[in-house]
């Protein structure tokens, strides 16, 4: 029998790797959009000294969808939901002006001028919201604005 040349090793390695990735892609957990790896984990500390449950909302004065979801945040506040606002890549001056227009729904505002918190939370843009339950665990995430009352209801139901 002719000897198989050793030069076949890289090919075998590539095929094994491809098989590994195929298994991963076929994994049912991949089917739904991969959600934030933070879900089910304690919320990163924000130095806000607020007792959970609360909603973490990334926003900015320069962001149009944030202005769209703003009334929903005000309604959430009226329902007694605590919201920590993270002002993303923004200045306190602009935020003050922005909140003067539509009211301030936030229990506390954390300034993230460099975007560090954005990296910590792995956000893909603003607005983005996280629901933190009474034990301090992140329950769900919403990418983009709250579009309607149903979105708000679904979001809050995830956080008992």
């Amino acid at each position: 029998m002719k000897r198989i040349p050793l030069t076949i090793i890289p090919l075998v390695a590539v095929l094994l790797l491809v098989a590994l990735f195929m298994g991963r892609l076929a994994d049912p957990r991949m089917a739904g959009a991969i959600d934030s790896p933070l879900i089910g984990k304690p919320a990163p500390a924000l130095g806000a000294n607020i007792k959970p449950p609360y909603v973490i909302n990334f926003f900015a004065s320069w962001c149009t969808p944030c202005a769209i979801e703003h009334p929903f945040l005000m309604k959430m506040k009226a329902q007694g939901v605590q919201i920590i606002g993270i002002a993303y890549k923004d200045t306190p001056e602009k935020i003050t002006e922005y909140l003067a227009r539509g009211g301030n729904p936030y229990t506390k505002i954390v300034y993230d001028d460099k975007g560090d918190e954005g990296i910590t939370f792995g956000i893909t843009g603003v607005p983005e919201s996280f629901a933190v339950d009474s034990t301090g665990i992140i329950r769900t995430r919403l990418q983009g604005p709250f579009a309607d009352e149903i979105a708000v209801k679904d979001f809050l139901e995830a956080m008992p």
């Binding site: 890289p10 090919l11 306190p92 505002i109």
Partner: protein, 612 residues
């Protein structure tokens, strides 16, 4: 209109790259060359078409809605094109087409059969990725309900440094596609010799140079933006850029052996194929979402499957070709272990082992998960214990290797200069900590510079810059990792204290008022220079911010932060935090040297080929 023209050009480029693939592999030289140039031209047209939509904020194009905003500064409108999956894929493809055109016109690629085959393979790669873009992530799609304004660019990317970090990295990743095509082409033609080595060198130089610059830019951004201290986090996507860099570095060294001694043929081909395969693997990891990372794009399983298919096709195809044709490549000339070739083989072995170690660490969580074992993550401790330890012998060898003569070291004439270098390095590093680490870095710098005493050519300068730069960067790495000094203390007015080599004098805290905030502002004299760290209070939003005062010097970066008032210690007592990061500028200077060495390599590899 511009969008449709771009879209049409892009579709046409798919057809022409298929033509390029067919003509190249069949050896229809003129057709293949024209098709290569046309594909590049059309891809540039497509890119410009989309860029027009971005610049004019045409919100009927979905990609512009998702990633731009009419109020954004023009420069971010332009860079916004590639700050997202679809657009960056278009840029990726433009570069692929650019390297295809470069293969077509590279004057000193004298083996026309090889040129044809390489163009053919490059054309097939372009065809695969253009289809991927058109089918799964078309950036030219329009919507029938255009909104008034866009959703803005992902704000993390609204940073000039970051706007140019991905394109530089792509140039590196994609540059290795040309090396890959030329390697697979050489296997098809069946000729791997010193002419082949000199022919692919400029391509390796461009790709390696861009990859090095991209990694350095990423590190710098991470250091200044992600909170002072780290510049490398062993994130899966960072590792994905390190992997081709390691094998690419091994490749450019083994090319030297092939060029001057016609040895290491199979090995060099293997490295050339593997480097682009690792680039593709990186692309797959970033865009498929199989690994979670801060760099990951939005996830769509179809995209992942498509790229995996392309990866299996190209890498599998090339490696199958390798398994089939490589045994026919015979190396006749031998060399002894103690020789330049021997040194480069050792360097290659260490670099490839490092790459394998990083790859294992990156994929280990996936493998564990696939086998149904624990869900784990692999972090810095693993890499520090393995890769960093491997760097020590590598650095020692890097100092020795260039002194060794080719073929075999006669009479051990190389020992004397090396011993002198070792003594100098020991004298400099005497009593430093950690002695071994510093010694190895200084040794590398001293012995590299010693190479310049005999002949100063562009080639030797390139080598010295690369090796010296890595030594310099190693000092910076140790500085940021091991010698960071942090000082937290309670201070009262006129207190003087020292942190490392710096003397700080705390003058006191005053109340200052901004347009909409009040602040406590400390006055701290750092070596005679006045700094003003602040603690601001914004009454309307009931929030406070801390503004650090930063001083950058050649030797270290210092930053001072004002903490809380400490009422227990007295009415004017405050907490002050001072952090010193030594040798940060050394790190960037080292990286700059490495990039410059790539430029020098490009220079001499292009110039060397003018002479027959």
């Amino acid at each position: 209109m511009a969008t449709e023209l771009g879209h049409f050009a892009f579709c046409l480029s798919l057809a022409l790259s298929l033509l390029m693939g067919w003509a190249g592999l069949k050896g229809h030289h003129t057709v293949a060359v024209r098709a290569s140039l046309a594909v590049f031209g059309l891809c540039v047209l497509a890119f410009m078409g989309l860029e027009v939509a971005y610049i004019t904020s045409d919100f009927s194009v979905v990609s512009v809605i998702m990633n731009s905003h009419s109020l954004k500064p023009l420069v971010y409108k332009i860079t916004g094109l590639w700050g997202n999956h679809e657009g960056s894929m278009l840029l990726w493809i433009c570069m692929l087409a650019f390297f295809g055109a470069l293969i077509a016109v590279m004057p000193s690629l004298r083996d026309e059969a090889l040129r044809d085959k390489a163009m053919g393979i490059q054309g097939l790669i372009s065809a695969g990725f253009i289809s991927f873009s058109l089918i799964t992530s078309n950036p030219f799609l329009r919507t029938d309900t255009p909104p008034f304004d866009g959703n803005s660019l992902n704000p993390v990317l609204q940073d000039l440094g970051l706007a140019f970090h991905p394109p530089t990295l792509y140039l590196g990743y994609v540059g290795f596609s040309a090396v890959f095509s030329l390697a697979a082409g050489a296997l098809l033609v069946g000729r791997v010799d010193k002419h082949w080595a000199s022919a692919i060198k400029p391509f390796v130089a461009i790709a390696w140079l861009a990859l090095s610059a991209g990694i350095a830019m990423g590190g710098k951004w991470a250091y200044y933006e992600l909170g002072w201290g780290g510049w490398w986090y062993w994130d899966p996507v960072e590792n994905a850029s390190l992997l081709p860099w390691l094998t690419g570095t091994a490749l450019l060294h083994s090319l030297l052996v092939l060029e001057s001694r016609e040895a290491l043929k199979r090995w060099t081909i293997l490295l050339a194929v593997a480097t682009f395969s690792l680039s593709l693997l990186g692309t797959f990891l970033v865009r498929s979402g199989v690994l979670s990372s801060v760099h990951a794009f939005a996830v769509d399983p179809l995209r992942g499957t498509f790229i995996l298919g392309l990866l299996a096709l190209y890498c599998g195809g090339a490696f199958a070709l390798y398994a089939w044709r490589a045994p026919a490549l015979k190396t006749i000339r031998l060399f002894t272990p103690v020789s330049r070739e021997g040194g480069i083989v050792m360097n290659n072995l260490i670099l490839v082992t490092m790459a394998a170690t990083v790859l294992t660490g990156t994929l280990y969580p996936l493998l564990m998960d696939a086998l149904g074992l624990a869900q784990i993550s692999v972090g810095a401790p693993y890499y520090n214990a393995t890769v960093v330890m491997m760097a020590l012998p590598l650095f020692i060898l890097m100092g020795i290797g260039p002194f060794l003569p080719w073929k075999r070291a006669g009479r051990y004439a190389f020992i004397k200069p090396l011993a002198i270098c070792a003594v100098i390095a020991l004298a400099i590093t005497f009593a430093s900590k950690p002695m071994l680490g510093v010694f190895v870095a200084v040794w590398l710098m001293v012995s590299s510079l010693a190479m310049l005493r005999k002949n100063i050519t562009l080639k030797s300068v390139s080598m010295v810059l690369g090796h010296f730069g890595l030594g310099l960067a190693a000092i910076g790495m140790m500085g940021t990792m091991l010698w960071k000094q942090e000082d937290i203390r309670v201070v009262k007015p006129n207190d003087t204290f020292t942190v490392g080599r710096h003397t700080l004098e705390f003058a006191g805290v005053a109340d200052v008022f901004g347009p909409n905030y009040g602040a406590y502002e400390a006055t701290v004299k750092l070596d005679g220079e006045t700094l003003h760290p602040q603690k601001r209070w914004y009454p309307v939003s009931e929030s406070e911010t801390t503004e650090a005062a930063i001083k950058l010097t050649l030797l270290d970066d210092v930053y001072v932060v004002l903490g809380e008032r400490d009422t227990k210690a007295g009415p004017d007592a405050w907490v002050l935090r001072t952090t010193v990061h030594p040798f940060v500028s050394t790190l960037w200077a080292g990286f700059a040297c490495v990039v410059l060495s790539g430029l020098a390599m490009l220079g001499y590899s292009l110039r060397g080929r003018q002479k027959p």
